[in-house]
Point group: C2
Chain length 456, copies 2
């Protein structure tokens, strides 16, 4: 299995480079730093910027080659990019966008204030502006917002030889071109011709004979997660985008999809901790504190609700201190067990394995897992408590509460994320905290309730 | 931003299909189910199998077309694949591997018991067996284990016309071929020729003139995470693999890398909940319960340690019940704040943004975030407690404990994952629980300690 915590050769190189560049900056050797940056690829400079604290970032940016700035911006994560772009002049931004793909320019412009992006658009040449404005007219996370408009099209009634001569005359193909698209006289997509097929076919063959005429194309309004899952399943390198009339309007390439696949997977982890997945590791203190405090505020409410539950049992706690000492164990186990189920269900929802057809099966399974683990850990904890506190009844009570809480945790671990998804709240964001609050309160109520009934 | 919880068109289709197929199975209409399966792509059948409970899986598998079984196996996740393969006969397995890529066959064989994989190898033809055995000689998660050996090579002293005629004679190119590799007489890699360049160049040009002679190639021992990060940064479709003598030994393509990128990102989320990232959502109850109980066992120890801390303050708890009621609040906030930092640091470590050069900066930042949020939530909680319990001293005590715990949570959130990484323990797996245990114990000790000093 892939272990992403292992020392990574390429990352180590970046860190050596980072160390070298930041040493140069610290010692005021700006010329040396600029020299170091000149030899680096734009994507490595982007990585360096992302791995730098905010102050060094701005100094580094000043030292980069203006001709490369567009390519560097493309590779930056949103938060870092925004921090840099707000300090650039519209004319600098317009210059940086030259030579960039339409979808990437649109992506950059979206993160700018409206006034600034209008200014940048005004400085672009007419043809580029028209293309970018078209891309901006689609939602950012749809095929229309992601696609590139530089597509090479051919007709089906020509021979391979003609195609080859056309391509040589055209000179240069867009990046990641693995197929030419075959269109009819109304620009409707009728098929595709893999470049590898083109290369291995006799020159006098007609396109019609060898083209792939399956009609799989991405509708312009499809959302980015669906596109990513299609690419992943079909092992595509690129795919055509069509409008409602099945007219070819653009092309999506794997490099843009890879970012979405990684972002979607990271989204689950970051959301479960209450963080935005675009959160910059090196964001300024005040901004970070503000981003996190919403989540802490939600937890204050949850913690107070739990405290109110204990408050209901004040008399019980007053009469037997051992209960207060032990009362955190059952909620803690319920939270851990429930969050295991939540993590499993959130991944299942994200990759599309969980739907109406198997929810009930999964619910039964997780409840039974709760029963099994409930039996095991109820015995363990019950036994330890009997030995520790010398009270059989207390042992039985904590064992029963543990059992009940682990079963409830299993059931809620399935139902809570699915319910959030149904009501269109991001399950990755909300499920963990909702579940922990419920298992805390239920665990505490059952334990303290049983203790009140049988011990006081 | 990509929101992976949105209804996904393609996944909905799969679920309709799943419903249809499982209805057919329930009603004993096996012929109809087989008919439905015949029209589906192998990758969609794989998805269907992954989204099915174990029993339906075996029935479904019996109904698939034997000629397609190899392709379906390739697309399955490890756990699901293992469950199916152990029930197949070596000769069936050998038949299924025909036409599969070398790396995929090696990947399949690795998950079989040694005896069975020897049997399967014995049934393959000599050339295939030699290739697969070579792939098996490299570690699974290295370039050697991932690469394909079907590489198209050319020499630098021929013209484009010769290359084109050679390719036509060869007929058919391996999937995802975006470049031909140029080698010298000793099979050493000297450059690469993009297919798109090949197509747009005049036939009489020599390869030497237009080839890309940058020497970027993947060393055969490079680990899969580094490969994924290189592909992602360089936007590669495929890349050559070389041995220590810089001889070309194979080729890695983006479709295999996409799986690693997603697995690595999922790994962090699943590990933080104490789950294996290959964990099957629909695993049998007993197996799931066993997989999760290790983690629950670790948490039992943590919960008992926390209870022992409260036990030290039994006298204090005995004298003032309000303290027992409020004692869960400070640990809870510390756990949430600390886990936010942990999630951020784990992602930073995984994508290679965090290294020696910026650890101290990050530590200071997270400690300051702790201070800021500490001030805010200490005031809020302190105020609420004063209003609720009417005790100024108690309010001040909980506020001080909150402040201390949030700062400690920030500091530990950075140091704990980095320390685990240094001692080669997976930080995603161990950090969350280690941190929660420490913040629980510290938060409780500070709160109960201060209460003992000032209130009892």
């Amino acid at each position: 299995m892939a272990e992403n915590y292992e020392a990574e050769q390429s990352n180590q190189q970046t860190h050596q480079m980072l160390q070298e560049v930041s040493d140069a900056l610290d010692n005021g050797m700006f010329l040396h730093a600029r020299h170091l940056l000149k030899d680096m690829e734009p994507e490595d400079i982007a990585h360096l910027l992302e791995a730098s604290p905010p102050k060094s970032r701005l100094v580094l940016w000043q030292l980069t080659n203006p001709d490369e700035q567009g390519k560097i911006l493309e590779e930056l994560s949103e938060d870092v990019k925004d921090g840099i772009m707000v300090r650039m002049h519209p004319s600098q931004l317009a210059a940086a966008t030259e030579g960039m793909d339409t979808d990437d320019v649109a992506y950059l412009l979206r993160s700018l204030p409206n006034q600034v992006s209008q200014n940048v658009l005004a400085q672009m040449d007419a043809q580029d502006r028209a293309r970018v404005e078209q891309a901006l007219s689609y939602p950012e996370d749809s095929a229309g917002g992601m696609m590139n408009t530089d597509v090479v099209t051919i007709h089906s009634d020509v021979t391979i030889d003609v195609v080859l001569r056309y391509l040589r005359m055209r000179g240069g193909l867009p990046k990641a071109t693995d197929a030419l698209y075959v269109v009819d006289e109304n620009s409707r997509l009728v098929g595709s011709l893999l470049i590898t097929t083109l290369l291995t076919t006799q020159p006098d063959t007609e396109v019609l004979v060898i083209m792939d005429n399956s009609d799989e194309a991405i509708p312009v309004e499809m959302d980015d997660s669906s596109i990513a899952s299609l690419f992943e399943r079909r092992n595509w390198i690129s795919a055509p985008v069509v409008d409602k009339q099945h007219q070819l309007v653009g092309r999506i390439t794997i490099d843009d999809v890879v970012d979405i696949i990684r972002e979607n997977a990271e989204h689950s982890m970051m959301s479960m901790a209450g963080l935005d997945d675009e959160e910059d590791t090196f964001a300024p203190v005040f901004k970070s504190a503000r981003n996190r405090s919403i989540w802490l505020g939600a937890n204050v409410l949850a913690a107070l609700a739990t405290a109110s539950v204990s408050n209901l049992f004040e008399c019980t706690l007053n009469q037997m201190t051992a209960i207060a000492v032990l009362m955190t164990i059952v909620p803690s186990m319920g939270g851990v067990a429930g969050n295991q189920t939540v993590a499993l269900v959130i991944r299942g929802l994200a990759v599309g394995h969980i739907g109406d057809s198997n929810t009930r099966w999964l619910l039964t399974k997780e409840a039974l897992v709760g029963v099994l683990n409930g039996i095991v850990w109820a015995c363990v904890i019950g036994g330890i408590v009997v030995l520790w506190k010398g009270n059989w009844m207390l042992g039985c009570i904590i064992a029963s509460a543990m059992m009940a809480n682990l079963i409830i945790a299993g059931i809620l671990g399935v139902t809570v994320p699915i319910m959030f998804k149904k009501i269109k709240i991001d399950p990755a964001l909300a499920s963990g905290m909702a579940l922990t609050s419920i298992t805390d309160m239920v665990g505490l109520s059952v334990f303290l309730g049983l203790a009140t009934l049988f011990l006081v």
